[in-house]
Chain length 161, copies 2
């Protein structure tokens, strides 16, 4: 019990001003952008951001279908959260569930035609928001740096469960 805190107690490497600024800017900006995106999607099609992301992934998949677990990994959602959202999208007629032929327990989330049309209708407005507040404000150089930086962290997080 005692040495569970040993490392933290002995080595508090605090963030300096530059590091603190980077971290706070990162977190605050994401939340603000997320809020703006939710607002736009809800007004345009009654969709939430997680729901939109699901439609995007399915539209990019072969045969417009994906296993639940793989889809959950892609959109970074818990299994139960994905179950809930797929149920919602099913009620809206944008997604269907299908049995997985290769695995008896498996479930496939399938994008319907209505779902594809919905995505095509909503995507331009969504992209416009992402552009207006993030992409178009960054130089090619900045974009590239941010991508490599994010990937380093993503890789580290995904490889440690």
């Amino acid at each position: 019990m005692a040495y569970a805190y040993t490392e933290a107690v002995m080595d508090p490497r605090w963030l300096d001003a530059t590091e603190m600024a980077a971290w706070h800017a990162f977190v605050s900006t994401f939340h603000l952008l997320e809020r703006r995106i939710e607002e736009q999607l809800k007004a345009a099609a009654g969709l939430t951001h997680p729901q939109y992301e699901i439609l995007v992934r399915l539209s990019a998949a072969t045969d417009h279908r994906m296993r639940m677990t793989e889809l959950a990994r892609d959109v970074v959602a818990s299994k139960s959260a994905l179950t809930y959202q797929i149920t919602q999208l099913e009620k809206a007629g944008l997604v269907e569930r299908a049995h997985c032929p290769s695995d008896e327990r498996g479930v496939l989330a399938v994008l319907t035609d209505a779902g594809m049309r919905c995505l095509e209708r909503v995507a331009p407005g969504h992209v416009e928001v992402v552009r207006a507040y993030l992409i178009d404000r960054l130089s090619r150089e900045e974009l590239h740096t941010m991508t490599t930086a994010m990937r380093k962290t993503e890789r580290a997080l995904r490889s440690s469960h």
Copy 2:
């Protein structure tokens, strides 16, 4: 009604591969990091990330107190979300509410001594996570670029309500 969609319909400037990669990396990484942080904070002190952020802001404020609205802006939370979290922190004895002397409707969130001690105990472990997965993996150059990039977006989002 017709030209509400005009711009989007006429000008669907899709994201190219580089832009798409940047955007997806940004969103995915944040969610993964957020998940890891929540896990660490909950295990260490039964705190959520929003709650931790509140304690941090209060500890940095003069007299360890802040108006609700200002605090909500800082941590990027809705008014009702902050009301809820302050109530939770009050139950845990980490924060108290006080009347605002200069404004009769105002409420001050005040960090208690127990709250300060809690923060001091938890902060090292939290910082360690932020370092291990983000800060320490980025060069000084990358950190600076990311900060300026985030700030551009933050500024744009905050100035448009």
